[in-house]
């Protein structure tokens, strides 16, 4: 995966064929979190806690629905994500890269929750391959790359 030098404000990326397919597969899983009650506070001491927790759940559900629409829109937008002879090309506005990182993290944390929320991820790596553990690694790969690109730590290369 490479960041390409872009002419405008858009972020341009070149993905190998396997990377593009993996990226697509990860995004299509969103939202991946198993249902669980949301809690605003650990220790309580806040007024109307039940109502506040319900409001938080509604807020999270609303945001998941909105992000799902954006993910679907991105995958269907041939100007943003398309395949060519060299693999895949991804073109994003910086704001889109931001919510994409958020989506990737949701899949990552959800895979960890589905794995039983283990404290020791290194111990999990030593075990036989597990689809959830693979998702955790793959999402970290994409996330790190996008975050570096946004912060300018991953300089662009000339488009091939």
């Amino acid at each position: 995966m490479k960041r390409l030098r872009s002419r405008g404000v858009r972020l341009e990326f070149r993905l190998e064929e396997w990377e593009g397919e993996l990226f697509r597969d990860v995004l299509m899983r969103y939202p991946y979190m198993p249902p669980a009650p949301a809690r605003l506070s650990r220790g309580g001491g806040i007024p109307r806690q039940e109502a506040a927790d319900r409001l938080l759940e509604e807020s999270l559900a609303g945001q998941r629905a909105a992000l799902k629409r954006q993910v679907t829109g991105l995958l269907e937008d041939i100007h943003a994500f398309r395949t060519d002879r060299a693999g895949w090309r991804l073109s994003l506005e910086p704001a889109k890269a931001d919510w994409l990182i958020q989506v990737l993290n949701e899949v990552r944390v959800s895979a960890w929750v589905r794995l039983g929320s283990p404290d020791d991820l290194d111990g999990q790596r030593a075990k036989p391959p597990n689809p959830e553990m693979q998702l955790i690694e793959v999402t970290a790969y994409f996330q790190s790359f996008f975050i570096e690109s946004l912060s300018g730590a991953a300089p662009g290369e000339e488009a091939a």
């Binding site: 979190m33 949301a38 809690r39 605003l40 506070s41 650990r42 220790g43 001491g45 806040i46 007024p47 506040a52 409001l55 938080l56 807020s59 999270l60 945001q63 931001d98 990182i101 958020q102 993290n105 949701e106 990552r108 944390v109 959800s110 960890w112 283990p118 404290d119 020791d120 991820l121 955790i136 970290a140 996330q143 790190s144 975050i147 570096e148 946004l150 912060s151």
Partner: protein, 146 residues
């Protein structure tokens, strides 16, 4: 009616002659004026003291209770083994508008101490921040600041 020199105190009643009328001053306080001070305020604390309208009440700024600290709520981020350090820093920068160094400091505090108090806010704002942080799949809660 009292006559002569006296030191009126709070919560006492004083009856004074005013022309042909007798005036009852409830809860009169005689206090030294502050240097360069302004005039005593009329009825400023009448409602809170329970005095009737028309009475004269002075409140000593020195004895007036200090305004209580606004009740506040702490937004706390808790450690977990799955969120990437670079991601947590990125979220703190995005959500709070912090510079990278400050965001990294809080991220490291979460990582090393298990939690970091990110901000102290009103209930409404603290709730907002917890919503946004949880939308970013960070383990964030709010707790009342005692």
């Amino acid at each position: 009616m009292r006559t002569g020199r006296h030191e009126p105190r709070l919560d006492t009643f004083h009856t004074l002659a005013y022309g042909r009328h007798m005036v009852v001053l409830a809860r009169l306080a005689v206090i030294p004026r502050p240097r360069g001070g302004g005039a005593p305020r009329l009825g400023a604390a009448a409602n809170s003291s329970g005095a009737q309208p028309g009475t004269v009440t002075e409140v000593d700024p020195a004895t007036k209770p200090a305004p209580a600290r606004e009740p506040g709520y702490l937004v706390i981020c808790w450690n977990d083994p799955v969120n990437l350090m670079v991601y947590v820093t990125h979220v703190f920068q995005t959500v709070f508008g912090w510079p990278r160094e400050k965001a990294q400091r809080h991220m490291l505090e979460v990582h090393e101490k298990g939690r970091s108090v990110l901000v102290r806010e009103s209930l409404e704002k603290a709730e907002h921040y917890v919503h946004v942080l949880q939308q970013h799949t960070l383990h964030a809660t709010l707790e009342r600041d005692e």
